[in-house]
C-alpha cells in the first residue's frame, strides 16, 4: 500500500490510464501549464505533452461539448471542471448531449467520457462556489455518478470510470485533495462502479454518507461508540447506479437509518435514499429515516455561518441518538 494524497491518487489513475491508452486525454482550465488549479494534474503536461494535456479558455460549455464530440468520434476524454460549480454553464451538454444522444441514436454512438472535478463546499467562498451537484446529475438517466471520499476509492473508481464506455460524472473535493490515505498498489486496481463500501460494521444504526459527508458519518459513529452503540457506516461511492442492496441489508439489520448529505435538502440524494429505504424496508424501520444536510439556504461567506451551514458530526450523532430513542 502506498500513502497518497487524494490529489495524487486521482493523478495516479489519470497517469496510468493515459499510459495504457493513447485515446485518453485530459482537458480543462489550467490543467496543463499551471499544473492544475488544485495541482491534480501536476507534471502531466510534461509527461504526456500538450496534445494530451490541454489547457482551455474559460468556455465550459464549449470544451464539455468538445469532449463529447471527441468521445463520439473514438476518443476517451477526461474533462476537468475547475469545480463543479462552473459546470452549470455547461450542464446542457452533460444532461442533454452526454446523457441522451446515445439513446436518440438507437445505440449507434457512445460516450466514453469522464467529467471530473471538485464538488460541494470548499470554504468561505459564498453561495455560487459551494454547490453539491450530485442529485442534479443523478436525476438524468444516461449518466453514471461517482462521488469519492478517500484516495483509494479515488484511484480505483477513476480508473474504472475512464474505462467505462458511458459518461461518468466524477465528484472529488477541494477539501480532501490534501488528505492522505492508503492506496492499493495492485496493478490495474479497478473498483467496480455501483458497489458501496461498508466502512464500519455495526448493528445499532446505519449511517450513509458520501464524499466529505462520509467523514462526518465516521465521526458520528465514533461518538456513538463512546455511548456503547455501534453504527454501520456505508459509503455508497457510486450515486448512480446506487447500491441499494448494501443499504437495504444494513437497514434490515439495524432498523434505523441516518443519512449525511452535504447537498441542500430538497430532492437531494438523501431524499431518494429515504424513498427507497422506506419502500424496501418498511417493516424493518424502527424510526423514521433521518437526514443531516446543508441548510436550506445558499451558502454564506461569514465563517461562523458557513460552519453552521454544513452538516456536522454532532448533528449526525444526535440524529443517531434520536432514532435510537436515547434522549
Amino acid at each position: 500500500m502506498a500513502q497518497l494524497q487524494l490529489r495524487e491518487a486521482v493523478r495516479a489513475a489519470l497517469v496510468e490510464e493515459m499510459s495504457r491508452d493513447a485515446d485518453v486525454f485530459l482537458m480543462g482550465e489550467e490543467v496543463a501549464e499551471y499544473n492544475g488549479a488544485y495541482k491534480v494534474s501536476e507534471g502531466m503536461r510534461d509527461r504526456f505533452g500538450p496534445n494530451r494535456v490541454i489547457d482551455t479558455p474559460i468556455s465550459e460549455s464549449g470544451f464539455a461539448g468538445l469532449g463529447l464530440g471527441a468521445a463520439m468520434n473514438g476518443l476517451r476524454p477526461v474533462i476537468e471542471f475547475m469545480t463543479w460549480n462552473f459546470a452549470f454553464v455547461a450542464i446542457d451538454q452533460i444532461i442533454n448531449n452526454a446523457a441522451k444522444i446515445r439513446y436518440m441514436s438507437g445505440g449507434q454512438f457512445s460516450f466514453p467520457i469522464v467529467f471530473r472535478g471538485p464538488n460541494g463546499a470548499a470554504g468561505q467562498l459564498a453561495a455560487t462556489h459551494n454547490t453539491s451537484v450530485e442529485s442534479i446529475y443523478s436525476c438524468f438517466p444516461g449518466l453514471k455518478v461517482i462521488s469519492i471520499s478517500n484516495p483509494d476509492d479515488a484511484k480505483g473508481l477513476l480508473k474504472s470510470a475512464i474505462r467505462d464506455n458511458d459518461p461518468v460524472v466524477f465528484l472529488e473535493s477541494e477539501f480532501m485533495y490534501g488528505m492522505r490515505g492508503e492506496v492499493s498498489e495492485e496493478e490495474d486496481y479497478l473498483i467496480p462502479i455501483g458497489k458501496a463500501r461498508i466502512a464500519r460494521e455495526g448493528d445499532a444504526v446505519t449511517i450513509v454518507g458520501h464524499n466529505k459527508s462520509y467523514w462526518r458519518a465516521m465521526e458520528a459513529a465514533e461518538m456513538l461508540e463512546a455511548d456503547g452503540y455501534y453504527a454501520e457506516v456505508i459509503d455508497p461511492r457510486t450515486i448512480r447506479p446506487f447500491d441499494w442492496d448494501a443499504v437495504v441489508s444494513s437497514v434490515r439489520k439495524t432498523n434505523r437509518l441516518v443519512i449525511v448529505d452535504e447537498s441542500n435538502p430538497f430532492a437531494s440524494v438523501s431524499s431518494e435514499i429515504a424513498f427507497q429505504v422506506q419502500s424496501r424496508c418498511f417493516d424493518y424501520l424502527d424510526a423514521p429515516v433521518r437526514r443531516i444536510t446543508a441548510k436550506d439556504t445558499p451558502a454564506p461567506y461569514a465563517k461562523n455561518l458557513m460552519t453552521y451551514y454544513l452538516p456536522s458530526a454532532e448533528d449526525t450523532y444526535q440524529a443517531c441518538r434520536d432514532v435510537l430513542y436515547l434522549d
Binding site: 486525454f25 496534445n51 490541454i54 482551455t56 479558455p57 468556455s59 460549455s61 464549449g62 470544451f63 464539455a64 461539448g65 468538445l66 469532449g67 463529447l68 464530440g69 471527441a70 468521445a71 463520439m72 468520434n73 473514438g74 476518443l75 476524454p77 446542457d92 451538454q93 442533454n96 448531449n97 444522444i101 446515445r102 439513446y103 436518440m104 441514436s105 438507437g106 445505440g107 449507434q108 454512438f109 457512445s110 438517466p141 444516461g142 453514471k144 467505462d164 464506455n165 458511458d166 455501483g194 447506479p241 441499494w244
Partner: protein, 374 residues
C-alpha cells in the same frame, strides 16, 4: 487560403491612426480577415469536374429529398408521423452540394433537427429514414429519435440535434478527434441562422480557431428562425462576418445553386484538411413553415413566391435541359424512380414493427444489465 483558387480573397487591414498628432503611437490597431464569395450561376459543371452522370446524380439526390419530405408531410397529416417535422424543402442544394466535397463514410457530418436532407444526400436509404419518422425499429435511430434525430454511424452522420446550438461544441470535438487521431477527416457542422446567437457558437469557434481544428461551420441561413427573420435577431445580419473575431476565413455562398455550394464547400473542406477551421454562410430559403404547425404568417406570399423562382431543383433542371445534358423524358424517369423509392419507403415503414416495450431500456447505457429504478 491557398486552396480557394477561384474565389477572391479580400484582406482588410484596419490600422489605428494616431490621434491627430504624430509619432506617439502606443499600439497599432490592426485587423486581418479574409472573405470569399461564391455567387450563383457562376460555375459550370465542367469547372467543377463533374460528368453528366454526376450532375444527374445530384439532380436525383435533390429530388429524392424533395419528394421524401413532401410525402412525409402527407404522412404527418395522416398521423403516421408525430412530434415535430421540420422540412428542408428549398435547401436541398446545400446538402447535395456539400456532399460533393466530402469523403462520405470518412468525413463526419453533424446538423440540427432539420436533418432529412443531409441524411438522404449522404446516401442513407429512404426506407430507414421514413421508418424513423414512423417510430419503427427499422428506423435509422431504431425509433428512439424521430425526425429531429437521424443518426448513421456508417455514413458518419453524427445526428440530428434538437437543442439549438448545442451540437456546435460537439462538432468541434468531432473535429478535435480527427486531428488527434490524425485520420485526415474533417467535420462539417451545419447550423441555422438562429443558432449563431447561442453562446455555444462563440465558444466553439474560438476553440476551433485556437486549437486549429478541421471543422467547417456552415450557417444555413434560410432567413428565419421560426418566425424571426435574421435582422430581427442579429445586431449584424451578415453572419459570415462572425469569422473575423476568431481570425478565420469566412465565405458567403448562394445556396440556391448546387454548383456554388460545391465549389465553396470544396474550398472550405480543403482548408479544414489543413486544420484551418472556417465559417461558411450559405444563403437559402425554407419554403415551408418552420415545422408542420407553423402557418408562416410572418412573411408575405410575394416573398415566398419570389424565392420559389430560385428553386435549386428547377434551376438544376434548367441547367440540364438548356445545356443539352439531359431531356425532359430522362428527368421524368428520374422523378418516377424517386417517387417509387419514396412510396416503397412508406410501405416499408408501415410494415416495420414498433419497438417492443422493453426496448425502452435499451441504448441508455452501453453496459448490459444496468440496474434501472423500476
Amino acid at each position: 487560403m491557398t486552396t480557394t483558387t477561384r474565389a477572391a480573397n479580400v484582406a482588410a487591414e484596419v490600422q489605428g491612426q494616431s490621434n491627430g498628432q504624430q509619432g506617439r503611437e502606443v499600439e497599432r490597431l490592426s485587423m486581418t480577415a479574409s472573405f470569399s464569395r461564391y455567387p450563383g450561376d457562376w460555375y459550370s459543371h465542367t469547372d467543377l469536374g463533374f460528368s453528366t452522370e454526376d450532375v444527374l446524380a445530384m439532380y436525383r439526390s435533390m429530388l429524392l429529398q424533395r419528394r421524401f419530405e413532401e410525402r412525409s408531410a402527407q404522412m404527418y397529416s395522416k398521423q403516421k408521423i408525430a412530434g415535430f417535422l421540420h422540412l428542408y424543402i428549398g435547401q436541398e442544394a446545400i446538402s447535395t452540394g456539400s456532399v460533393q466535397a466530402l469523403r462520405v463514410g470518412h468525413d463526419t457530418v453533424i446538423t440540427a433537427y432539420r436533418d432529412h436532407g443531409i441524411a438522404l444526400a449522404l446516401g442513407m436509404s429512404a426506407d430507414e429514414c421514413m421508418a424513423e419518422l414512423f417510430g419503427r425499429i427499422d428506423g435509422c435511430s431504431k425509433g428512439k429519435g424521430g425526425s429531429m434525430h437521424f443518426f448513421c454511424r456508417e455514413k458518419r452522420l453524427f445526428g440530428g440535434h434538437g437543442i439549438v446550438g448545442a451540437h456546435i461544441p460537439v462538432a468541434t470535438g468531432i473535429g478535435f478527434a480527427h486531428k488527434y487521431k490524425g485520420d485526415g477527416g474533417v467535420c462539417i457542422c451545419y447550423l441555422g441562422d438562429g443558432a449563431v446567437w447561442q453562446g455555444a457558437f462563440h465558444e466553439s469557434l474560438n476553440l476551433a480557431g485556437l486549437y486549429k481544428l478541421p471543422v467547417v461551420y456552415v450557417i444555413e441561413n434560410n432567413q428565419y428562425a421560426m418566425g424571426t427573420s435574421v435582422d430581427r435577431a442579429a445586431a449584424d445580419a451578415d453572419l459570415y462576418k462572425q469569422s473575423i473575431s476568431y481570425a478565420m476565413p469566412g465565405s458567403l455562398v448562394d445556396g440556391m445553386d448546387v454548383f456554388s455550394v460545391t465549389r465553396a464547400m470544396r474550398d472550405h473542406v480543403a482548408l479544414a484538411r489543413e486544420n484551418q477551421p472556417s465559417v461558411v454562410e450559405i444563403r437559402t430559403y425554407r419554403y415551408r413553415g418552420h415545422s408542420m404547425s407553423d402557418p408562416g404568417k410572418y412573411r408575405s406570399r410575394e416573398e415566398l413566391e419570389a424565392r420559389k423562382n430560385q428553386d435549386p431543383i428547377l434551376r438544376l433542371k434548367a441547367y440540364l435541359l438548356n445545356g443539352g445534358l439531359s431531356t425532359n423524358e430522362e428527368l421524368d424517369s428520374v422523378d418516377r424512380s424517386v417517387k417509387r423509392e419514396v412510396n416503397e419507403s412508406v410501405e416499408f415503414s408501415d410494415s416495420s414493427p414498433l419497438p417492443p416495450l422493453e426496448a425502452i431500456y435499451d441504448h441508455v447505457f452501453t453496459e448490459e444489465g444496468f440496474p434501472f429504478l423500476r
